[in-house]
């Protein structure tokens, strides 16, 4: 058993899970929803095993490190955190259909990593040899994943509220969607989980930077974009707490926030230059 084989299994499981969720949406057969979530859990288990195995494999090669060091590994980890946050949401609220809007993000991540990115296990360059790498990456990506889930839920919100305006929402596809108030609340709850994690991610990054070269903040593009994302979600929370921004406005702000998050994660590496060099990991 190798990690790359298990990653293949993961990608396949996420593909099947997504298709089952789509079929669930189309047919409204509860069994398909259950099959979808079971497959997603199986994929999550396989991926957890694969990540641990890759970790071990790096030790076998003689330069062990957490599998979080290049673009391939970070995309894989991002995909894992998305399914993890979705699983937690499912355990608590049991709205299976959300999977149809969240699993595509996870599948996209795995497919891109496996088809387009260099998957070799490389030793760590001196700059990355720090325990802060683990704290920083884990907190950031859990935050990103919560925002991804919030974005998926916001898309559902906009579809459902659009449907409600046009016709009877209790029929057809829309009947499966959680009530519109619930979607609005779940969007907020996911951001409520993501925001403290992003804050922790920025702080651990700053602590690491200070420890590594004596500057906790240097307005590097990556740092600046993480602050931009933080500002957007801070605005979201203020609008919600004190101005009662709910519904469509909140959903749009959540989608904009996730777009900024994705740019912070990938766009900065692809289009701008800076300290986070894992974008060159192709």
């Amino acid at each position: 058993m190798t990690s790359s084989l298990l990653f293949n299994v993961t990608t396949f499981a996420y593909l099947v899970s997504m298709l089952l969720f789509f079929a669930f949406l189309a047919s409204r057969a509860a069994a398909l929803g259950t099959a979808g979530i079971v497959t997603a859990y199986a994929g999550l288990a396989a991926q957890s095993g694969a990540i641990l195995l890759r970790w071990k494999e790096s030790y076998d090669l003689g330069f062990g490190h957490a599998p979080l060091s290049n673009l391939y590994e970070s995309v894989v980890f991002f995909s894992w955190t998305i399914v993890l946050i979705f699983a937690l949401l499912d355990l608590k609220y049991k709205y299976r259909v959300i999977g149809a809007f969240v699993m595509p993000f996870a599948l996209l991540g795995m497919a891109w990593a496996q088809l387009g990115l260099h998957s070799g296990i490389e030793p760590l360059v001196p700059a990355l040899q720090s325990n802060w790498l683990l704290y920083h990456v884990v907190t950031c990506f859990l935050g990103y994943a919560a925002f991804a889930v919030a974005c998926g839920i916001s898309i559902m919100y906009l579809i459902k509220s659009g449907g409600e305006e046009r016709a009877d929402a209790s029929s057809g596809l829309m009947a499966l969607f959680p009530p519109i108030r619930v979607l609005d609340d779940l969007n907020y709850r996911a951001i409520m989980v993501g925001f403290p994690l992003l804050t922790l991610g920025i702080i651990t990054g700053a602590a690491w930077a200070n420890y590594a070269w004596g500057t906790y903040w240097s307005w590097d593009p990556k740092e600046t974009w993480s602050l931009i994302v933080w500002f957007v979600y801070a605005a979201f929370l203020h609008a919600r707490f004190t101005r009662g921004w709910v519904g469509k406005k909140a959903a749009w702000l959540s989608i904009i926030g996730f777009a900024a998050t994705i740019f912070c994660y990938l766009g900065v590496n692809l289009f701008l230059s800076g300290l986070h060099s894992y974008g060159g990991g192709r």
Binding site: P126, A212, G214, I228, A235, A239
Partner: protein
């Protein structure tokens, strides 16, 4: 003060207290921050200047885009945000403070109507007895209550985590604490760099603005080394440093290893491994083709020398053993680049152990000169970032405050329960500052239990 002035001050105050301003500032800061990630910061590089028109350059310069995070308008936005969050906090704090310190302990009709969760039921028994029972129930199931008697009715009030209403102000305060830390750092700290040769010591560093700052002690570089993985990728850059006071090593600061991600701190000044280089020299003997006019030439690792015939040369790289690159050969070798006085340049490998090859190559190319490699003195230097930031502790305190504040603000809720006992009727009301849905469940269970308890006593 005239009414006009008061009106103006009032509207100014309202302006700074407004949430519209908060939203405007957060979104504006987010959008304008993008500029600095697209326009290169610091002195703009030449290639960039060639891409943009002179008009754009002047405009960008006038708007401070080349150092935008320190431009007057960006700093102004940050100050406005600070004033805004202080004003918002001041405006709302007294009200919140009152809720916490002087809670409404009486469930009157007005309050009852305003509560989302209210349950009422008949209960028999003496009011004193009922009050005791409810008090014991609340203390066991929720929180210790306060009892008040008014107009023949008995009121009990209990609450949980009232202080969590302050958490948002702690988050606001934390932003200010972080700003204070940043300001302290920028006034009383500095960032600099220094290169130290192996064996040499330094006692001052150069800041980014080019100013020399005395350290008050010295640092000696004992050794610098680079280790590589088998693949040739760098594994570790390591300086061995000793701190000296009055020329004497400081106990505990002798031969300290400094690697990337593991700096050395002494007296609040921290040294970070950042770069390195070779400042040693290579020795050559240069002769004519027939071996006459031998001149020894010493070339610094990072420089070039002019030869007697007017051409110049520098060393591209050296190796202590050529065997892995050229099978059959052995010993040290150097790769040179020579620029002749008529503008041509050529590259040549010269050997220490194979003078005949050096001569053959020179003959092949005409008139000479002939180079003989005589060896190399390697002398590494280490490049260290030097930072002193007395504000950093304040920044971490602010960060801690922020994290604790955000968690409390999101995941804790101020929950209140009132009970009124009046003419054989028990009325219970409750509310929560957050997460109403979850509280509703808690409240319903609580009410059900209380009802059972009050009627169970009768049986």
């Amino acid at each position: 003060m005239t009414t006009n002035q008061r009106g103006f001050l009032n509207s100014l105050w309202n302006f700074f207290c407004s949430l519209t301003l908060t939203m405007f500032l957060l979104i504006t800061l987010a959008i304008t921050s993008i500029i600095g990630t697209i326009v290169p910061q610091g002195p703009p590089p030449q290639e960039y200047l060639q891409q943009i028109s002179p008009f754009k350059f002047k405009l960008y310069q006038a708007l401070g885009f080349f150092d935008m995070y320190h431009s007057w308008w960006f700093i102004l936005l940050l100050y406005l945000l600070t004033v805004n969050l202080v004003a918002c906090s001041i405006k709302r704090l007294p009200h919140i403070w009152k809720i916490i310190t002087r809670p409404v302990t009486i469930l009157d009709n007005g309050l009852e109507r305003s509560l989302a969760n209210v349950v009422s039921f008949k209960a028999h028994g003496a009011p004193e007895k009922l009050q005791e029972q409810v008090a014991a129930f609340l203390a066991a199931e929720f929180a210790a209550p306060v009892a008040t008697e008014r107009d023949g009715a008995r009121h009990l009030f209990a609450q949980k985590t009232p202080w969590c209403r302050l958490s948002v102000y702690f988050v606001h305060l934390s932003v200010i604490v972080i700003f204070i830390g940043a300001i302290v750092g920028s006034f009383f700290g500095y960032k600099g760099f220094v290169n130290i040769m192996e064996g040499d010591s330094i006692s001052k560093v150069t800041t980014r603005s080019g100013k020399d700052i005395p350290l008050g002690f010295s640092v000696r570089c004992e050794k610098f080394s680079v280790s590589l993985y088998d693949s040739g990728a760098p594994k570790e850059f390591k300086s061995v440093l000793t701190v000296l006071e009055n020329g004497k090593p400081v106990p505990g600061y002798e031969h300290k290893s400094v690697i990337v991600n593991d700096p050395l701190t002494y007296k609040g000044i921290t040294f970070y491994q950042s770069s390195y280089g070779n400042a040693g020299e290579c020795r050559f003997l240069v002769t004519d083709l027939d071996g006459k006019n031998a001149v020894p030439v010493t070339v610094p690792a990072d420089g070039s020398v002019t030869l007697p015939d007017g051409s110049s040369m520098h060393v591209l790289e050296t190796t202590p053993d050529i065997a892995p690159y050229s099978p059959g050969l052995s010993g040290p070798a150097a790769h040179l680049e020579i620029h002749t006085s008529d503008g041509r340049s050529e590259r040549v490998v010269v050997y220490a152990n194979h003078p005949e090859l050096n001569l053959a190559h020179a003959k092949e190319h005409g008139k000479g000169p002939v180079f003989y490699f005589k060896g190399e003195e390697k002398r590494m230097y280490t490049g260290l970032q030097v930072a002193k930031d007395p504000g950093v502790g304040i920044v971490w305190l602010g960060c801690l405050l922020m994290v604790v504040g955000i968690f409390a603000a999101f995941f804790l809720s101020h929950r209140r329960v009132w009970v009124r006992i009046q003419q054989g009727t028990v009325t219970m009301g409750g509310n929560a500052s957050k997460n109403q849905a979850a509280f509703q469940q808690v409240f319903e269970q609580l009410a059900q239990k209380l009802k059972t308890e009050c009627s169970g006593e009768k049986r």
